[in-house]
């Protein structure tokens, strides 16, 4: 069982993760590219290392890269000679998975790697903004490929579910990156386009004065550090490009419908997303039912036996059905929670 965790990068995500792991009883070692947060981190029970190499050579059972994506190639190059793959499993929390796996392969570390991406974060940054509660209720995507070693996956998954108290789904990189582009990277680009349009408008001061909840919510992510957003989009650029073209086509089609006064087209446009509205309503009802059962949610839980031969495919199918892994019982048996789906 994993008891020691190494964290590379004590920013918002890494810092919050390190602090949550400490609170959950893990031995947590960390390295940051500058020792600035070390004093505060040490007070929180995190063992701060002088160099990245020192961290790797301390052989944490799980070494999680929480550095910015753009630092990934450098970090991996430095880690390659220092890490002991027999002792440590390598993971990361990057928001794109295909490119990180390529970089891991280039560093020759694919044998000990399991990808991960926690759905957690906010518009702040740095260790000073970190908070173990950032991970409350977070869902993790754990990304695997045909060569991923089951025992390493098992260690990462157990740390997330049994250790951190989070839920996870298992994906391949392509599925993850397409889905993440759809619900995060593309929307970030759209939000940025909207603030650009505002700045270019002669009515910008009036518009900004009139802006209420809808504008605030739709542009919030455009206010975060544009360099971070740029890096995130850049790493997933093929998927983002495709989705931006889809979205532009949808906007132009609707604009054409408005221009023609085509009531049928306009009605169809508003009806098209009804599946998602219904899904959200069902999810809200499911949450309410869960609460009224005192949070036990026993009704929607089940155990799933993992097929050792086709575990990757079986767990991806489970994710596609809307199931989430909430706990690992033993090597090949997990607790899952059913969620509403849109099929």
């Amino acid at each position: 069982m994993v008891t020691s965790i190494g964290i590379v990068g004590l920013g918002l995500i890494g810092g919050s993760l390190a602090r949550r792991a400490v609170a959950r009883g893990y031995e947590v070692l960390a390295w940051n590219h500058t020792p600035r947060p070390y004093e505060e981190a040490r007070r929180d029970g995190i063992q701060c290392m002088k160099t990245l190499e020192d961290l790797a050579q301390a052989k944490p059972e799980l070494l999680i890269l929480c550095n910015p994506l753009k630092a990934m190639p450098d970090v991996l190059t430095r880690l390659a000679p220092a890490i002991d793959p027999a002792a440590s499993t390598l993971s990361d929390v990057g928001s794109v998975k295909g490119m990180v796996r390529e970089q891991v392969e280039r560093a020759g570390l694919e044998g000990c790697y399991v990808g991960a991406h926690p759905m957690a974060g906010n518009e702040r940054s740095g260790f000073e903004a970190s908070d173990p509660a950032l991970y409350d209720g977070a869902l993790w995507a754990v990304t695997v490929d045909a060569d991923t070693q089951y025992q390493r996956f098992f260690g990462v998954a157990r740390f997330i579910a049994n250790g951190l108290g989070n839920e996870l789904i298992v994906l391949d990189d392509v599925t993850h990156d397409r889905a993440a582009a759809l619900i995060s990277h593309m929307p970030h680009a759209v939000a940025t386009s909207m603030i650009n349009e505002l700045c270019a408008s002669p009515e910008r001061n009036i518009a900004a004065a009139l802006a209420a909840g809808s504008w605030r919510d739709m542009t919030r992510v455009a206010l975060t550090d544009p360099n971070r957003t740029r890096a995130m989009i850049d790493e997933d650029r093929t998927n983002v490009e495709i989705l931006l073209r889809h979205l532009a086509a949808r906007l132009l089609e609707f604009a054409d419908g408005l221009h023609r006064g085509d009531e049928t087209a306009i009605a169809a446009y508003f009806a098209e997303g009804q599946t998602f509205r219904d899904f959200k309503a069902h999810a809200a009802m499911a949450r309410a039912a869960q609460c009224s059962q005192g949070g036990s949610a026993a009704l929607h839980k089940a155990t799933l036996d993992i097929d050792p031969a086709h575990w990757q495919r079986k767990l991806l199918e489970s994710a596609r059905r809307g199931e989430r892994i909430t706990r690992l019982l033993d090597n090949y048996r997990v607790v899952i929670r059913h969620q509403p789906n849109m099929d």
Copy 2:
């Protein structure tokens, strides 16, 4: 001084307005197209009228149309013979102003009309969702044209500022409708496009599972009653169409930049909205400074003398500078509050 208010339509917006006006000491009369909310409204101190004509004939000094936009022509046709323009000023809270003014003119009621649009609302609807606090901190746009009678404007503005405790800016219809399309109607259409894209994606269940804060915030408005959104966009369709084409062009230009790997274009895209990021940071600092002064905000307040000859233009210029009217001192003297601007 206005002491009696008539409200047409006791939905979320009209109901909240009626309840706030009662709480602020006004006599409030109301009519709703169905008497369903009357029992609750009467308990809240609202005098509920049997017919729209009864309400008009009770001669409230200010009669505010809070009915859905699509009911506006019918409501105005019925009001025209019933209202006494010598006794009552007509206003409304519609989210588009040009079309409402045209409808008011068609009903022959332009002589007693002053447009208004409070920046308040949420995704709920109906009197049961109403709340006087919905208007806390709300900014109103008051819309006038060259023929608007100053005394009627004054009555409406004093009700909003001195009566409801809200702030207001004065706009012409074109400026209002362009700005509202930019910060509200267009974003609603974009949010709808995004949930449509999700529903069409084979990764929809995975994507919905991974969806976190950015997706939730950017699609929240697409979950509201699509008929209400459709009506809102429909009434401002020319401006929305133009803005959707602008936004589609921006998205395609960025997609092209990603495709070419054009780092200069990508950097320019992320730099373009910096004015808005800075504006938001300044506004947050201004709010913080205001709070640290115990909410008095004396530093940013000033009085403005209204030029009786060119009052419409002068007040529009004031709005363009980022000023808001917080109180009317006498007929031609108002208190304004300076806000950061983007020029």
